[in-house]
């Protein structure tokens, strides 16, 4: 099938089979390897992308769903070398250990900031509860999320 989308700000046309998933296509065909595969079952959040501004599990979302929509991966957040506020907050708070979960965490906090610009701690925790950090660095991640919301 033929899918037209805006990928990280650029009009993009993709020819794909009906059964192809966003995660496979961005990583293997488009070379955007920031989006990670871990659980492959919509649990861990390491594959989080934004589809028309809403967090989605790339591991379990068909490319077909992106037709006519805007898809943002972790590569689409920064403006050249200029980090976006969520990325900067993760740097400021050293909210990274091994870094594997970090792209998904950043995308989830980005989704949070767009959904709930005035999020309280309960809402922040609710969003982060769907993303798993195997290094369990949640305190720093929570601090980074709080900084984003307070800005």
């Amino acid at each position: 099938m033929h899918v037209d989308l805006v990928l990280n700000g650029e009009l993009t046309a993709i020819e794909c089979a009906d059964n192809e998933l966003i995660l496979d296509v961005v990583r293997e065909r488009l070379g955007l390897t920031g989006t990670k595969r871990s659980c492959d079952m919509e649990v861990c959040g390491s594959c989080t992308v934004l589809l028309d501004g809403l967090a989605a599990s790339a591991c379990t979302t068909l490319v077909a769903e992106a037709d006519g929509k805007e898809l943002v991966t972790i590569e689409g957040l920064s403006d050249g070398d200029e980090l976006n506020p969520v990325q900067q907050a993760f740097v400021d708070h050293a909210a990274v250990q091994c870094g594997f979960c970090t792209p998904g965490m950043i995308m989830s906090v980005q989704a949070l900031a767009m959904d709930h610009p005035d999020a309280d701690d309960e809402t922040i925790s609710e969003y982060l509860s769907g993303t798993i950090c195997r290094c369990t660095g949640y305190v720093k991640i929570l601090e980074a999320a709080r900084q984003v919301i307070s800005e």
Binding site: A17, N19, D40, A55, S57, T60, S108, D115, E126
Partner: protein
């Protein structure tokens, strides 16, 4: 994991959807958010040759709130329900429940209808909607019909949907101000390990336990006790009903859980009532 091959269809109206399902029969599956369907396909438990995407059918995207009922189209996502101001006003307990389902990504894509049609026993809405006497509206080759949610969910992963039939709407009666409603769950991993919903109004009471068996279970003895305002006896009746049906190791623990959840759900129901001016307060506190 890759998905097995299939052809994706995107009908624009209900008639077209039903036609496609009739044409491909067993080889077709309705596809909404795909949060369950794509998972089981990845795991190799299902291999439909045709996925029929029903999300773009306008009728299925409707969400109507009137004074006494909600009509929720089969294409309405958890996200839309949890953020809908009229639903929040009419049935806050449903919004609270929806907010706690899964994670934000599953709620952005997944639908209430898909949750009910999949009939996974660890479903939050199945328990509450059974207690509220909600109904599903179905459409198929033989026309339309309505069924109580309690009669729709037959068992684990099993519903009353006939071949070629789809769920179009979920109809939820809005409880009046003289009705108490509470819902509680306990969750250890992804899905709830146990759920309890309680409703008590002028017409009687409902106590429903979910996730501890193949389908939500009503506990008539507990309902009778609640009508008498005896929460302690209702808790006991609920625990023993679970103990009677559960033969697996750890049944005593699950029976205890169900009782605890009923007590919490009842406290929540009565607290909700006390915070709504003019609403019924129970004569005896639980």
């Amino acid at each position: 994991m890759r998905l097995p091959p299939f052809t994706l269809h995107r009908p624009r109206e209900l008639g077209e959807l039903l036609e496609l399902l009739a044409r491909y029969g067993d080889d077709a599956a309705v596809y909404m958010g795909g949060t369950e369907l794509l998972l089981i396909m990845k795991l190799g438990f299902a291999e439909p040759g045709h996925l029929v995407d029903a999300k773009s059918i306008p009728e299925l995207g409707e969400l109507h709130v009137s004074a006494d009922r909600l009509a929720i189209g089969a294409g309405v996502t958890h996200r839309r329900i949890e953020r809908h101001h009229d639903v929040q006003r009419a049935l806050p307990v449903l919004v609270d429940l929806e907010r706690r389902i899964a994670n934000v990504r599953v709620r952005n894509a997944g639908t209430l209808g898909g949750n009910l049609c999949f009939a996974e026993p660890h479903s939050d809405p199945a328990t509450l909607l059974t207690a509220l006497d909600a109904e599903v509206e179905l459409a198929g080759p033989a026309g339309r019909r309505r069924l109580a949610v309690a009669d729709f969910i037959l068992g684990a992963l099993s519903t009353a949907l006939d071949p070629g039939e789809v769920l179009t709407h979920v109809h939820v009666p809005v409880p009046g101000p003289d009705t108490l409603v509470g819902y509680e769950r306990i969750v250890f991993t992804e899905r709830p390990a146990a759920t309890v919903a309680v409703v008590r109004g002028p017409a009687g009471a409902r106590v429903v336990v979910g996730a501890l068996g193949p389908r939500p279970m009503r506990v008539p003895h507990a309902e009778m006790r609640l009508v008498e305002d005896d929460i302690d006896a209702a808790v006991e009746a609920t625990s023993s009903a679970v103990a009677d049906t559960d033969t697996e190791p750890g049944a005593d623990y699950r029976a205890h859980l169900a009782g605890v959840l009923l007590r919490r759900a009842w406290s929540a129901a009565t607290a909700n009532a006390l915070s709504v001016p003019g609403a019924a307060a129970p004569t005896k506190q639980g």
